[in-house]
């Protein structure tokens, strides 16, 4: 894809994050009033070890253009080793998805601790910029052109992504 999408295309990104580090880090980013793209919908799970690769597949099936998986840094897992198990699982998943022809830039993996609100902002903005560059994930949607379920334009009173034009432009530049 190319940058022709940049003007009108708002990426839909699903983030699977662990409760203890990244979710708290994202919360910190919010309470710190950090500016970031509003294209990410967060799904909170107990641990990265709880994130089945099938969640990512399901997100793509439901129309996500990109996915973020994020949790505690190594040695910081609330459950001691969940992130180590996840690291192996996602390394294998990351490699096999490439073999199947999925662009690795559609999947961002990161470690974001509870104190790294700024890093979360960077992860979000970088991912949104990457996906903006790649364009909508038409190839995946083409697997079932009539079956894509509508993406919620607004969740719990949040403003639809389109209303955030200035912030989104900032990210794209």
């Amino acid at each position: 894809m190319n940058s022709q999408h940049s003007d009108t295309f708002e990426p839909r990104i699903t983030a699977f994050v662990c409760n203890w580090c990244t979710y708290t880090g994202a919360d910190l980013a919010g309470t710190s009033r950090l500016h970031m793209a509003s294209n990410v919908r967060i799904i909170r799970l107990p641990c990265t070890g709880r994130i089945d690769p099938l969640f990512i597949v399901k997100a793509f099936e439901r129309g996500a253009d990109g996915v973020i998986v994020s949790g505690c840094h190594p040695a910081d897992c609330h459950y001691t080793s969940g992130n180590y198990h996840a690291r192996r699982r996602f390394a294998v998943f990351h490699d096999i998805m490439q073999f199947l022809g999925v662009d690795p830039r559609r999947m961002t993996f990161s470690w974001v601790s509870a104190s790294e609100g700024a890093k979360w902002k960077d992860v979000v903005n970088e991912t949104v910029a990457n996906i903006r560059e790649l364009g909508p994930y038409e190839a995946y949607r083409a697997l079932a052109p009539d079956a894509v379920e509508p993406w919620p334009e607004a969740v719990d009173g949040l403003t639809p992504a389109g209303d955030q034009e200035p912030a989104a432009k900032e990210v794209a530049s």
Binding site: L54, R88, I96
Partner: protein, 305 residues
């Protein structure tokens, strides 16, 4: 041009029949699971009567991985009593897989290992053919377990190495790896679109051991059950990653696939990934920990921000 020659008779067959007969006569096992000759080639056989031990054969047509009968999903087989199982090297790796995951008690099975020189890609033949680059099962090339160690009886003469197939699985994987992403996507989605969701790949796999498969969980529906490209992609990907670091490359899933999806390429790629990242190769040593479910503090994480 003449076709491939008939393979020379396998020297260990008499020994196999003798061992099987003795195991049954002594009551050490209740049933021997091996191969017999049938109209359409070799096929699995269950023998409970010592007088029938002479039915057993072993030749290049014995492609089936009989370990699938030890799968805990098939408790009607384990209910027969202690089992004597005839295994090739690749099959022994599958037994090790079941032992590693505590799905099988070693006491429950007597393993009769056959020294193996490779098998045919297609076993439904009236006569055992000699292996050639055209007819050999590609997975046999480079086999590291032609003399299984996880056995109670090891029979047969040492066998020659299997021939190199016209194109090895590694070469086919490398050829796919060289394609741009879009073409790989096109290749795999086309292959998966053929899938009719018969789940033969799962049923035959000796290591697909879940009592209830994720694909049958419909509340919530994780994998769409209709045979359309999106659900097919999800299913084939899930089947493969659930076997990452567990697959023993017995090739049964691909052989059983009624629409010819090249599952061995997917399985081989996963073997390469776990080997490159974690130095793991499937072996018939049950103590050799599988890579998924294990970890090291210094595992690679170059893909993580």
């Amino acid at each position: 041009m003449t076709g491939p020659a008939i393979a020379p008779a396998y020297a260990g067959v008499d020994e196999l029949r003798r061992v099987a007969r003795e195991l049954l006569e002594s009551g050490e096992v209740r049933v021997i699971i091996g191969w017999e000759d049938a109209r359409r080639g070799a096929r699995p056989v269950f023998i409970t009567d010592p007088a029938e031990a002479d039915k057993l054969i072993f030749d290049t047509r014995c492609v089936h991985n009989l370990v699938t009968y030890l799968d805990p999903r098939r408790d009607h087989v384990s209910e027969l009593g202690r089992i004597g199982l005839v295994v090739k090297g690749c099959d022994a790796k599958a037994v090790a897989g079941l032992l590693r995951e505590s799905q099988l008690s070693r006491d429950h099975v007597v393993l009769i290992g056959m020294r193996c020189g490779g098998v045919l890609e297609e076993g439904e033949l009236p006569e055992p053919l000699a292996l050639t680059p055209e007819n050999v099962a590609p997975r046999c090339y480079g086999c590291d377990n032609r003399e299984p160690t996880l056995t109670d009886h090891l029979l047969g003469e040492p066998q020659p190495e299997p021939p190199r197939p016209v194109m090895t699985i590694d070469e086919r994987v490398a050829a796919l790896d060289d394609l741009p992403l879009e073409e790989r996507w096109a290749f795999w989605t086309e292959q998966f679109s053929k899938c009719v969701r018969c789940y033969a790949c799962r049923q035959v796999c000796p290591l697909c051991i879940c009592e209830r498969c994720i694909v049958e969980k419909t509340q919530p529906l994780w994998i769409e059950s209709a045979a359309h490209p999106r659900g097919n992609f999800s299913w084939n990907l899930t089947r493969a990653i659930h076997l990452a670091g567990r697959c023993v490359d017995c090739g049964e899933c691909e052989r059983f696939c009624p629409v010819g999806i090249p599952l061995s390429l997917l399985n081989r790629k996963l073997q390469q990934i776990v080997h490159d990242r974690y130095g793991y190769t499937a072996s018939d040593d049950p103590e050799n920990a599988a890579p998924i479910g294990d970890y090291r503090l210094d595992d690679q994480q170059e893909f993580i921000k």
